[in-house]
Subunit: 496 residues, 2 copies
């Protein structure tokens, strides 16, 4: 094997180095962390062409798509650097002393880093959610060293990215243990990493089975640790009749692209479409089937993903009441996708839980509802989702408050007249959702609020000014936003 | 039995009512939730004398202490109501659309309630951390119905408080399922509650064994849920030589009170004192032993707590190298505490993990260190703590950065020249800490930030103004602080 799995001894060494690096890095100031993230971006940029070439060869993702992902990765590093430095994520609160009887002490609280974070590279995002991706950037911004387990399907890409991260660390004068890159095709490497006593938290993007297995290991530790596993979902799209009739062709086009781009290998891929019987649905169904059947097959990320797609697709198509509406008529290669639109009546969908599971790839199931009441029942049957989408005119949406409620309750992001793929990197993004979409619906994997996953509050009580971290000192030399005695302000503190 | 355990059918009914109430309550506005909390406080206040009398009879806590706890409970309800209404906890972020190619959608994010919350009453705080205590107030402020399991040691007090909470709900026109009061002396009731499919989160204050058992059940569910268990700790106090010499008598007095008040039945009770050999330690040891030996025995909360205290105390006193420095010389009653100061050399303390466990009650172990290096080793050996305390002059503290680091890393609250008991209710408080102090160091059980335990973010993408919750609408009619395009502001939104 070109990249042999890390041994237990290597893992132990990596964790010890990370723990040692943490003693230094946790005290680096926000600016130093931000400079490190920007330096990583700069070193990556010099390797762009080679890395995109390597990633293309390893993942079969086309270069245009990889180019977009590359830009996103650098934007994440730089925008999280800005957010790190701006310091809003520290959630600073100061309540000054009240010097009456009984005296109330001076309290000053901010977030501090958790410790060494283990990050698992994602198969479908070799740049943006892997080696120097969102989890790594957030952990470093929080002040945590990272131990990165490369995804075996793009191990060489990962090596190249890791080199940039390490070079940047050296240039910034940071200890080596700040970032360690390990390989591990076997589940055992992940298990040893998650169970290691020095691991403080885990970031993971992948399958429900994989994420849940890691979360279970973490929960069973003597000292349990948080696992942020983003495990995907079926991202249902609910299409209401007026908008569907008004906009049939454009919707079919937009959804066909969303379902099939990058061989459907997105965790926000729309796996279920829900609509009400009628002429608008018939036209939409036909237009969408035509478009999906016209998409060429594509090599999937790796043989395991392709096998799983083919298996899950066949399984759904064999369920009672499910039929194919549009798919390829030509033969496909062994590791290729088969873009597919299937359909099923809502009664069958409601009765068969297995239809609510994810088929990772270019596949979507159209659920045909008798009426609005049955659509409501479908909405209420949903498991936790990363996203729910409503296609509707504002008027018809406003007339269905119960439907809006049910959709909002099951998702982390609620989209109006859009498609779930295409996740904007911004503070207001929430890329998370109730289980099984993620293991912790309270935190996001995209956007600078993701930094908070790897931090916890510490409150300093009655500390003398000279011993306080600068973020909490009276002067507020860093100009941070702080909540002082209940009021948000960028002013200095004036104790009573 | 006066208050029989809830049956599975009763629990099921309670959860169904709570889930139904949730569909209404989650949409109540912040002001309505705040009014409910204030109405609970008002109804409680009318029952004050009777409830303090009942609690005194059930818990043996003295009335002055219960009076202080009463005031705290009402302050919590009212101050969390204010925080709820002020809405900073919603963490609102808005990133308006960018209408260039590729278009970036409009994103608006806020916290929404998780769903029905199961709260376990705490034995040691019949008011402030039980029926209408901190967890209940936070869950209601977040918009979650509460299913309260009364602590069997003060079931009648709990009934009386619950009546006030229910009366207030009726007065506010809220559905009955908003608050359900159940009894359960057996662990099975808790188990059924935590495993119930409609339970969304759990609040618990109690022992490590109890909290961990509930967290394990929650993690093993088909759909895991968060458990916020505050499980106590040994709250070490590190005494540096100069301050100890400068202030010996006052420190001994302050610590003796902190160790023995309310029979030491506080989760922030200082269970370990760490100091360096020398004349100052000798004087302090003598003064503290004298004071502790002079404290009268007191009836503990319930026979189980008393038995556990006596057992754990005896266990520690039997360990190699541990000896008693000061304790009662008179006989004590069956369920009474025995205020005790013991001591041990630091080598023995470091070698014997069992000495780092909590003895819940008026007990503290003085750890005698040869020198500063050994004190550092003790600091680094600590498990996660709710609090660490440093007694020092600012100069001698400043000269020991490694000690400050080690203490900060193990605790949620870091106290300078104070005692850990006495937890100020304020936004800047953090009452939490690394495991085993709590199951989730990222959240607090005291202060209005505790509201966020019971909420998760939802992001609305490209929603028309008419369908947005008022908190996220352009106008900002509620005058909330919102981060718009990266800037904190109370202004309205002006989309691009």
């Amino acid at each position: 094997m070109k990249f042999p799995d890390a041994t237990s001894a290597e893992i132990d060494q990596a964790m010890l180095s990370a723990a040692e690096a943490f003693t230094v890095f946790r005290k680096n100031n926000l600016r130093e962390r931000a400079v490190y993230l920007r330096t990583i971006a700069a070193h990556l940029d010099r390797r762009k062409d080679v890395l995109i070439e390597t990633a293309h060869r390893e993942t079969h993702l086309d270069k245009d798509r990889l180019d977009v992902e590359w830009t996103r990765t650098l934007f994440q590093l730089r925008s999280y650097a800005d957010a790190c430095e701006q310091g809003a994520w520290l959630d600073i609160r100061i309540d000054t002393a009240v010097n009456q009887e009984p005296r109330q002490p001076d309290l000053r609280k901010m977030l501090v880093p958790l410790g060494p974070v283990v990050v698992f590279g994602a198969s479908n995002f070799p740049f943006a959610y892997s080696t120097a991706g969102g989890d790594t950037a957030c952990a470093l911004a929080a002040g945590c060293p990272v131990i990165l387990k490369a995804h075996p399907a793009h191990a060489e890409t990962s090596e190249g990215v890791a080199e940039a991260v390490r070079t940047a660390a050296a240039e910034c004068g940071l200890p080596e243990g700040i970032f360690t890159h390990l390989h591990g095709a076997s589940f055992d490497v992940g298990k040893v990493l998650v169970e290691h006593s020095l691991t403080a938290a885990v970031g993971f993007t992948g399958s429900l089975e994989g994420g849940r297995a890691l979360a279970d290991l973490a929960a069973a530790r003597e000292r349990p640790i948080p696992v942020f596993a983003e495990m995907g979902s079926i991202n249902p799209v609910f299409l209401l009749p007026t908008e569907l009739a008004r906009n049939t062709g454009a919707l079919a086009e937009k959804l066909a692209i969303s379902i099939t781009q990058s061989a459907g290998q997105f965790c926000t891929n729309p796996g279920v479409l829900v609509a009400i019987e009628g002429p608008a649905l018939e036209s939409f169904r036909e237009a969408l089937a035509f478009r999906i059947a016209g998409v060429a097959p594509a090599e999937m990320l790796h043989p395991g993903i392709a096998k799983n797609f083919q298996h899950r697709r066949a399984d759904v198509l064999e369920r009672e009441g499910v039929s194919v509406v549009g798919t390829l008529s030509c033969p496909v290669g062994r590791n290729e996708s088969i873009p597919t639109l299937a359909e099923v009546a809502a009664d069958k969908f409601l009765a068969d839980k297995s239809l609510r599971g994810e088929v990772f790839g270019p596949f979507s199931l159209l659920v045909r509802c008798r009426d609005a009441a049955q659509m409501q029942a479908v909405a209420e049957s949903l498991d936790g989702q990363l996203t729910c989408t409503l296609i509707a005119t504002p008027d018809e949406a406003g007339a269905q408050p119960a439907l809006l409620d049910a959709l909002q309750r099951s998702c982390g992001r609620f989209i109006f007249n859009g498609v779930p793929t295409g996740v904007r990197v911004a503070l207001a993004m929430h890329h998370g959702g109730p289980y099984p979409a993620t293991t912790d619906s309270r935190f996001t994997a995209v956007g600078a609020d993701g930094i908070r996953r790897f931090a916890r509050p510490v409150c300093y009580q009655d500390f003398p000014e000279s011993l306080l971290p600068p973020e909490l000192a009276d002067a507020n030399a860093l100009g941070l936003w702080r909540t002082i005695n209940g009021q948000l302000t960028q002013e200095a503190t004036s104790p009573e």
